[in-house]
Every structure is written in C-alpha cells, then in structure tokens.
C-alpha cells in the first residue's frame, strides 16, 4: 500500500492541486515559497490531523484557507454571496489493498479508487445561525467557529485518523516542535518501533519513579514543614507529583543522544537520527510515508551524504517524499524521482534515459536544479565562456547580471546533451553556446535532435557557422581557430585586447597562444574591463533569444 495521489483544494497556497506519487522515493524540487512544504504539511495533516505540531482542532483558522478563495468569498458578501470555501485533502492509495476505502466519493469520480478525504467545511447544523449572520452583514471573515473537520473514506464512511491504515512521519527542522521538553515527534517514532509490552514496562517504571519520589524522606519532611506553616486553610497541603495518565512518560521523559538531551543536539543531527529511526521502524504493522523536509538544511556535506545513503538504501520498503532545493540531493537520489514544483504545478522527469540518471548520480555536483528552477539557461563549455557570456549579458542589459533576471549561465564541460535531455522534460528555455571546433558537420550531427526539422522552440543551439583557419601550431598539432578566444580576437582586434589584458603582443598568433594558456585569467580581465567589448555574434544570439 502506498499513496498514489494527493489532491488538495483550498489549503494554503493551493486552490486546486494534484500530485501523483510513486512507491518508494519521491523528490519534490522547487524554489523557496513554491509550496513544497505545504504539500508535505497537507499529507501529514490528512493522515494524522496534526498541523504545525498541534492538533488541527486548535490550529484551524482562516489563514490555512486559500487566500484567493477566502477573498472571493468575502467580496461576494456585498453582492451575491457564494458558498463558503472549504478545504479538502484527498489521499488516494495504490496497491489495491484497502477495499474498505474503495468507492466513488472522490473528486475523480473514479470507482476504482481507494482512499479518503480530509475535509474542513461548514457544518450544515449551523445553517440558521449563519444565515442570520449574513443577513445582518456581520460576516467580515470566515465564520470558522461553524466549521467542522471530518475524515470520510471514498466509500462514504466517516472515520478517524486511528482507522487509517497508513501512517505518516514528518521530519523537518523547524523550531516549533521543540517547545516542550521531549520532542513528541521523536517519542512517537520511538514508540512506533517498540512492542506493546515494552511500552507497558516503560509506563510502569515511570510510575515507580513517581512513587519513590513521593515517599522519599526529604519530600515527606518538606510536606510536614509546609503544613506547619500553612495557616490560611485547615486542609492538608502536600507536594506531590501529578497523577500520571497512561502515556505521561511520553511528556516527562527526555530522549538523549550520547547523554545530551535530544533538543540540545544540533538540528542537522536531529534530522539524521529521526530519519534513521523512521526508516528503521518495522513495516509489517502499518505502512507509512516518511515526509522529509529539506534534509540539506543544517547538514554538512559529509553528513548529508550519509543521510542520503541511508535513505537510498532503504526506500525500497518505505514510501518517502523529500522536498529539497539541493541539486546534490536530487542528483544523488536520482533525477528520475524528481518532480519540479513551479507555479504550483508539478512536472516529472521520468522520461530521462537510464544513462543520464546514472551520469548525474555519479557526478552529483552538477547544478541540475539551478537549470530546473530558472526562467532561462545558457549552457556553455567552461568557466571562461561563462564569464564572457555574463559580461555580454551585462553589456546588453544595463549592467545587470543574468541571475538577477532569473537567467542561469552554467558551464557543463562536454555534457551538453545530458543537460538537454533534462531540458526536454522541463521545457524551459535553454540556449547552448558552443564552439564549432572547425567542424560544422560534427556539430550538426551532435545536435541533430535539436536543429533543422527537429528544432524545438525551447532549445536553441548557438554556434558560429564560420570556420576560421590559420597556420599556427601548438607543439605539433594545429591551433584551434574556432574556440571562444580566437573568435574574441577576431571581433575585438589586437590593440583592444592588449589594452585589456595589459599585454603588448604585436603578432596575433602570440596573443592567441597567450589567451590559450591563460583562458580564465583573460576571461576575468574581459569581465572586469570597463571598456565596451565586442562579443561574437553567436553568443549575442544566445543572449538576445
């Protein structure tokens, strides 16, 4: 059993939203404020009734409703009142293991579906009160006090979170969970991994501890003292310990890590421990989903690596949903599992070839997510190309860096085609700036899927179609006249470049050799120069597009 789909209506930033999940690992990638956490929150809320670490009954307010929907409703009150907005979170289960939850009470009208709907909606019981409120014109905000929270299966059975045979475990590193001594979250996870007998013995031990405390001579002495001093009342005053409920130990015990209370341990470490505990939990009883929010926060590179290793080794048995904006996490866990969240919509990467997944898994340092998250990307070969492109962009755009306009310039070495495959999935604008290396035919062959008849409107290949030639030799081999440096020389001339580099070559070939051996330095000089630099046309093409 696993969650195959989640549909959200009117919850926080989502008016109407749908995300399909797979068994095992799922990664949601998105910018800050894109709504990643809201998805995790929504799933956890629907499965546990807990929002921000507290019961939803205490947390329900207008602010968890979609603002647009609320505004529309409030505005309508002055003219023709529309129906009160409500929140639904529908959880669809895959695996066909839950016939009790099978039915057509889902927004897809699918009678194959199994799952349930979490709902915060106006309770019809209060319709009279509400009507008089509206007539008096007293409604200025959502009448939350008339709202009710229900869980209903697709078979229209009203249930509680207890009877949902699927649990969730939200692991995030925000502050609010640590207000009380013990992290309820952690204790829940630990409790989940214990046998019922273990829990009973903990509770008994805890009770014994309390009895010992009360019967301790010093406490008795203190109680006697209090009673001697008390004069305002005839009743007996005594210091005692609160009578414990069955699960009191959860609140008064503290989990320690290497003798340090859990909440004093670094946030990153907490995250790792919780994740490991959650993953280690026995799977037989209840299937569950682990919701992991931005694990890269608070973690060093090495620790992150360990965490990811732990996740990727065990996700076969668990469903995991990770939100992240770290390319490293995404690459390492597999780009095929990545869903891009953009403008509150989801795009999947499942069409990438096996080869490409493996490439990015191994070379996980590539900033794939930068490309995924931006408006437009310019791919180039190396650092020097990157600098020149940045410079060219600034010259054309009043000195703004491309990143300020949401445009990424990424040097990808020779892996252009791998990145283009990703581009195919996300279909955001990608320009490739590449040298022709003196062989236009080879370039055309390499990019045949993206030019001519196969031209795609989101991919542009920018290459100089003039092949320059010359006689210069480097050692025994021919000098390549068709890379960035000679092309720059061609448009800017010897004098200007000499000025910029602070050199005084009289022969162009000497400057070519200098540039070849000092690529990055030359590019930096060009980038920092206050002089107007002429830019080869094929680069300008990529920027103007």
């Amino acid at each position: 059993m696993y969650i195959s789909k989640v549909k959200i209506h009117n919850f926080k930033c989502y008016r109407d939203f749908e995300i399909t999940l797979e068994e095992g690992l799922n990664i949601v990638v998105g910018d800050n404020e894109s709504g990643k956490s809201t998805i995790l929150e929504a799933i956890n809320l629907a499965l546990t009734g807990i929002l921000s670490g507290k019961s939803i009954w205490n947390e329900i307010s207008q602010y968890i409703f979609n603002k647009e929907a609320v505004d529309e409703y409030i505005a309508s009150l002055n003219t023709a009142p529309i129906a009160l907005p409500y929140i639904t979170i529908e959880i669809f289960f895959g695996g066909a293991e839950n016939p009790l939850m099978n039915g057509d009470a889902n927004s897809d009208r699918d009678n194959n579906a199994e799952g349930f709907c979490f709902r915060i909606a106006f309770n019809d019981k209060y319709v009279d009160e509400y009507e008089s409120l509206v007539q008096q014109g007293d409604v200025k905000s959502l009448p939350i006090e008339y709202y009710d929270i229900t869980w209903t299966t697709f078979a229209r059975d009203v249930i509680t979170t207890r009877s949902i045979p699927y649990k969730s475990c939200l692991i995030d590193s925000s502050e609010y969970r640590y207000q009380s001594g013990n992290d309820l979250y952690l204790s829940r996870i630990i409790k989940g991994s214990l046998e019922p007998e273990d829990i009973t013995s903990i509770a008994q031990a805890h009770r014994k501890m309390r009895d010992t405390f009360i019967n301790d001579p010093s406490i008795e002495a203190i109680n006697n003292k209090i009673n001697q001093d008390a004069s305002l009342t005839d009743k007996k005053i005594a210091l005692s310990v609160e009578l414990v409920t069955k699960n009191a130990w959860e609140n008064s015990l503290v989990t320690q890590l290497d003798e340090i209370p859990f909440h004093y341990v670094g946030k990153g470490e907490q995250c790792v421990v919780k994740t490991e505990l959650a993953l280690a939990k026995r799977t037989s009883q209840n299937a569950s989903i682990i919701l992991l929010e931005e694990p890269e926060n608070h973690l060093s590179h090495t620790r992150l690596n360990q965490l990811i290793k732990c996740i990727s080794e065990q996700y076969a048995e668990k469903q995991i949903l990770i939100s992240t904006h770290s390319s490293f996490v995404a690459n390492k866990l597999g780009l095929g599992k990545v869903m891009l969240l953009d403008n509150l919509r989801i795009t999947r990467f499942s069409e990438l070839s096996e080869d490409t997944y493996n490439f990015f898994k191994k070379v996980a340092g590539y900033d794939t997510l930068r490309m995924i998250l931006c408006k437009k990307t310019i791919l180039c070969e190396g650092d020097s190309d990157e600098l020149v492109i940045q410079k060219a962009y600034m010259q054309l755009n009043d000195g703004r860096l491309p990143i300020e306009d949401g445009i990424e310039v990424i040097s990808v070495g020779v892996s252009f085609l791998r990145f283009l495959e990703i581009a195919d999935c996300i279909q955001t604008k990608i320009a490739v700036v590449t040298d022709n290396d003196g062989d236009i035919a080879a370039i055309n062959k390499k990019y045949e899927n993206y030019i001519g008849a196969n031209q795609k409107d989101y991919i542009k290949i920018c290459v100089d179609d003039v092949v320059d030639t010359g006689t210069l030799k480097i050692g025994k081999s021919d000098y390549n006249y068709n890379t960035l440096e000679p092309k720059l020389l061609k448009v800017n001339g010897l004098d200007k470049l000499n000025r910029i580099f602070g050199t005084d070559y009289t022969d162009e070939d000497d400057l070519r050799k200098f540039m070849k051996h000092n690529k990055t330095e030359c590019a930096l000089k060009i980038f920092e120069s206050s002089e107007q630099i002429e830019i080869p046309e094929y680069i300008l093409e990529a920027i103007r597009w």
Partner: protein
Amino acid sequence: MVNRLIIAAAGSGKTTYLVRQAMQQSDSVLITTYTIANELEIRKKFVELNGCVPHNVTIQTWYSFLLQHGVRPFQGVVLDDKINGMILVNEKSGKKYDGKYGPVYYAEDDYRKFYFTDGMKMYSDKIAKFVCRCEKETKGRVSQRISRIYPKIYVDEIQDLAGYDLDIIKSLLQADCDVTMVGDPRQVTYHTHNEVKYKKYADGKIEEFIRTECKKIDCIIDKETLNDSYRNNQSICSYSSQLYEEYGETGTKQFEVTGHEGVFLVRPDDVAAYLEEFKPMQLREKRTVKVNDGYAAINMGESKGLTYDRVLIYPTGTMRNWMKDHSRKMQPKTRSQLYVAITRARYSVGIVFDYDEKTSIEGVEKYR
C-alpha cells in the same frame, strides 16, 4: 469459492452453528441477518462461546450492511448527497398523492422522491433496488468490493430476503467469496409491502430461487446439517413437519422426560386447569384474541427465535380447519405462524380446540 445453502429446522442450533463456523475462520467474516433481534442473538452467542466477538468478525443487520457496503460506496452513480440512514416502512414508499383509484407513486426517474424521504433517509423497501442499480451501473464493483473485504459471508435468516435482496445474493454468490446461507423457509417473516420482483420466490422459496435463477453458480444445498432439533421432542417435530411435507420430517435431539410430552388438544373449558397444571406460554395470533389474563401471553409472530418449556396455542379458524383436514387451504403466512408457534416448545404443545370422543387427529393427543 464455496457457496452453501443450509436449510435449518426450528431449534436446530442454527445460531450456535453459525457462530462456531465463524470462529474457525481467520479471514474477515461478515455475518448478516434480517432482524435486529437476531443480530443481538448472534452477538450474545459469541459472548457465550468465545467471550467476545472476534476482531475479524463483523455482525450487521442486512439493512445496515446494504447501506454501508451496497449503497454508499458507489451511490455516486445516482446522486452524491449525504444519506442520513434509512427509515423502516411498512407499506410501499414514495407516495406522490392519493388518486381516485388508489395511491400514486413517484417514478424511479424522480430518484430523490423515489428512494428518499425529504430528510434524505432511504426507504427500507428501496434499499436493495438501489444497491442493484449501483451494482449494474458499476459493472459489478459493489459485489467485488464486498468480496474483497469479506472473503467469508454468512447470511442468517436467508428465508426473509425477497425481491431485489435475492439479486444481491446472486451477485455475492458469483463474487470471489464464500457465501453460507442459513435459514428456515418455514419461518418467513412476512413483509407488509409486497415486492413484485421475484414474487414467485416469496414465501421462503429460497431453495427454488437458487436452483432456478442461480443454476450456473456452484452452490451446495444442505438439508442434513441442521435438520435435527435440540429444542422440540419427537412428537412436536413430527406434528410440525406435517405443515411442510415437502421438507421431510425434522429429527430430534431432545429426549428429556417430564411426564407430559407431545401435542395435546385442550378444550376451552379446560384451559384454566391446563394453565394451572403446566404453566405454558399462551400464543395467540394477535392482541385481540382472548386469552387467560392470569398467565403470560405473546403473539405468535413475536415468538420467533424464542424457546419455552410448554406453550398453549389459540389457533385461528383456518388453523383449526387445517388440523382437521390437511388439504384445506391455508395462506403461507398463517401456515408459517402455526409452524413457529408449535416449534417454540421443548416438551409440550397445547392447542385450544373443542373436541369430543370422535375427534381423532394424527400425532395429537387429548388433554382430558
């Protein structure tokens, strides 16, 4: 799948049998029965034999089962509104108005009025029809879903199901689950609303329904397992069997001797003495029948499922005629009533009946 129809004699320990069967299952089990009284009886039996109802066993009345698993999961094919339970009706529901030639009813197209009260309660006589509609329009998803939830289904009091109920039974028999149906066709509860569908299988003709309408479906018809009565002694079994010769004679496992066993005619004048001597429970057709107010009395219809050491029956005219001549016509309902009444007693059945020396009824003795 193994389907089985068990014809049970009165007092044959049907409930005990059912409960013992259910206790042996490790799969999820559903036990459903027509009346609330019998549902309680089954629960009580579980407590008696097992201490509690096992977690894998669900006991529901037929209507509550139909509402939860027949109506609600796929009601979307008709309407999406919240259904607020059901309302028991004793006559045909959904009346539009009283016309010149009798009442006029809403048509099914007007489904809100046809199936529901204004408060969205479902009429009890329409539930099964609604379920059949869902089953048809979802191409069998209703029965498929039920069979996935409950691999083992026991339907008690199967004789009480009629009309569209039978179509639901047919769907379940075809689904991938084991259905065991238990009932006594001689003890039908008569519905005041007359179901037109499958009318010929009314009056407890469940066996005929299985043989005719479900002949392509495997279903064992078992008349042996529950043919012996633990309640009635041999004379009572024999006499009650005369009412339904087509089912053969019921056997007995009640051999206790008390000094007064069998079926006896009691003259109206002797009733007081008989009551005094044996303290039987008085059974009458309805409240208006005069009985001796000094002793307890109960309507025959309400006595179903109950056991007494001794009973005294106040027969109707039709019943008396039948006693004199078995070929006399008797309504199925009356026949069933008499059968139920006779089979309540462990040891003795008295029948208020004016007789003289010439009177001779097979299987029946005279009190004085």
